[in-house]
């Protein structure tokens, strides 16, 4: 399911919900928001792979010294977006929240000869959460549960001395390696509504890589970060865990990355009461 489809399903659901409660005695809210998130993730497999690429250069290009960016960041601060909608009745509140996050990191390893490699890591994360809790005119307290859908992408490109980038199939390290994963998300937060059309949301979300019951079950997803282009040399489709080892279907990274966020979001808070 793509971001667009999630967004459409969410919006249509809200349309139907709004129409169905038009004349009932409930407080309905719809609140798009924007803010910032501090996020943390264990990317140790990527860090290990990046370090192994430098060992590969040490071994194979000993006479061509290199400079390398620091290893992948485990924490980052990123823009945070949110669309939420829900109802509150007699102090209780129920809502649905869609929280997309787009994370990107780039790393260069450049050799003295002018050749090098650029790694670009992208995570497009979509958390869809149900919020349940206590609500009032100026304050909501809620717990959250739901799912996350994540598209991972690692682009590994050769850098020529001219500055040109290449992901062509001339070199097996080049590629666009992808993976899609889904898992459960839990969290909670507090929403302050100081004035009529403004709300401030402080929320914590933990996004797991597993769905409930997935561990050690038939639906457990052990698919690796792969480049499935037909242009690749057969047997080289996995993003390597260890660059010093031969490329193979065993030398791979399964992106079981769990991520947590602290979000501070300013909402435009439309409500009917």
């Amino acid at each position: 399911m793509t971001r667009n489809n999630i967004f459409k399903a969410f919006s249509v659901s809200m349309f139907l919900l709004i129409q169905s409660i038009s004349f009932s005695q409930v407080d309905f809210y719809l609140s798009p928001g924007i803010g910032v998130a501090y996020t943390q993730c264990r990317l140790d497999k990527l860090q290990s792979s990046y370090a192994s690429y430098q060992r590969f250069l040490d071994i194979n290009f000993a006479n061509d010294p290199y400079t390398a960016d620091d290893n992948w960041d485990l924490t980052s601060v990123v823009p945070s977006y949110s669309i939420q909608a829900g109802v509150s009745i007699d102090g209780a509140m129920f809502g649905v929240a869609y929280l997309p996050h787009f994370l990107k990191q780039e790393r260069y390893v450049m050799r003295e000869s002018g050749y090098g490699r650029k790694f670009t890591w992208r995570e497009n994360r979509h958390d869809i959460l149900f919020d349940v809790g206590w609500g009032s005119e100026h304050l909501d307290l809620y717990g959250s549960f739901g799912v996350n859908l994540v598209n991972y992408k690692m682009t590994s490109a050769l850098v020529y001395p001219s500055g040109t980038l290449s992901v062509t199939n001339e070199f097996d390290f080049n590629g666009v390696f992808r993976h899609f994963d889904a898992g459960y998300s839990v969290g909670g937060g507090i929403r302050i509504k100081p004035v009529r059309f403004i709300a401030i949301d402080l929320r914590y979300v933990f996004s797991s890589d597993l769905l409930p019951g997935e561990k050690n079950s038939v639906i457990e997803d052990n698919v690796a970060l792969s480049d499935l282009s037909f242009a690749r040399t057969p047997g080289t489709s996995q993003y390597p865990q260890d660059y010093t080892q031969p490329l193979s279907l065993e030398n791979e990274i399964i992106p079981d990355f769990r991520r947590s966020y602290f979000q501070l979001i300013l909402h435009f808070y439309f409500r009917n009461d």
Binding site: L30, Y160, S162, A231, F270
Partner: protein
């Protein structure tokens, strides 16, 4: 009550607007081949406006720029074929030079890379996407020490008519 209804209806309209604001984005299932939607939009035709070649193994290389004498059009579209009793859609691109059909390829178009495959099981011509906007594409093809940079502009022009032949009754 009426005021409340209009207030809620305006929220409903906003929800619908949000729904359609996400249409026509470069997305596909699992985000693979996410550039193809942009390439095949409109009539799916892109004109080659400039070809640059340079040595990639030196800093600040001398660039040779060529404007094609004949019109070169790349036409991106989805074609279907039947296999094992089911219809399969396939991304395709046909290249026309000077109004004549040059070649048809299957196409893998991602935001970072575009592959033209000419029937190979594994392999194909791989371009690196340097720039991608709704009306302009710049792709690089590098091999050994040479890089060719191709600039396309969306032309929404008519697909050249290629006359067919018939030998049977």
């Amino acid at each position: 009550m009426i005021k409340k209804y209009f207030s809620l209806s305006s929220l409903a309209i906003l929800a619908v607007l949000l729904t359609f604001s996400s249409c026509q984005k470069d997305e596909s299932v699992l985000n693979d081949y996410d550039l193809f939607g942009r390439l095949q939009g409109g009539t799916g035709t892109w004109r080659v406006t400039e070809i640059q070649t340079f040595e990639n193994n030196v800093p600040n290389p001398t660039i040779t720029t060529t404007i094609p004498e004949q019109e070169i059009i790349h036409h991106f579209y989805i074609r279907s074929f039947e296999a094992f009793g089911i219809l399969i859609d396939e991304h395709a691109v046909t290249v026309y030079t000077g109004g004549s059909l040059t070649k048809t390829y299957t196409c893998e178009a991602e935001k970072e890379r575009v592959v033209y495959r000419d029937g190979e099981i594994f392999g194909g011509t791989v371009f690196t996407v340097e720039k991608s906007t709704p009306n302009k594409q710049i792709w690089n093809y590098s091999f050994e020490s040479s890089t060719t940079r191709i600039t396309f502009e969306k032309c929404n022009c008519e697909v050249p008519f290629v006359a067919g032949g018939e030998t049977g009754g």
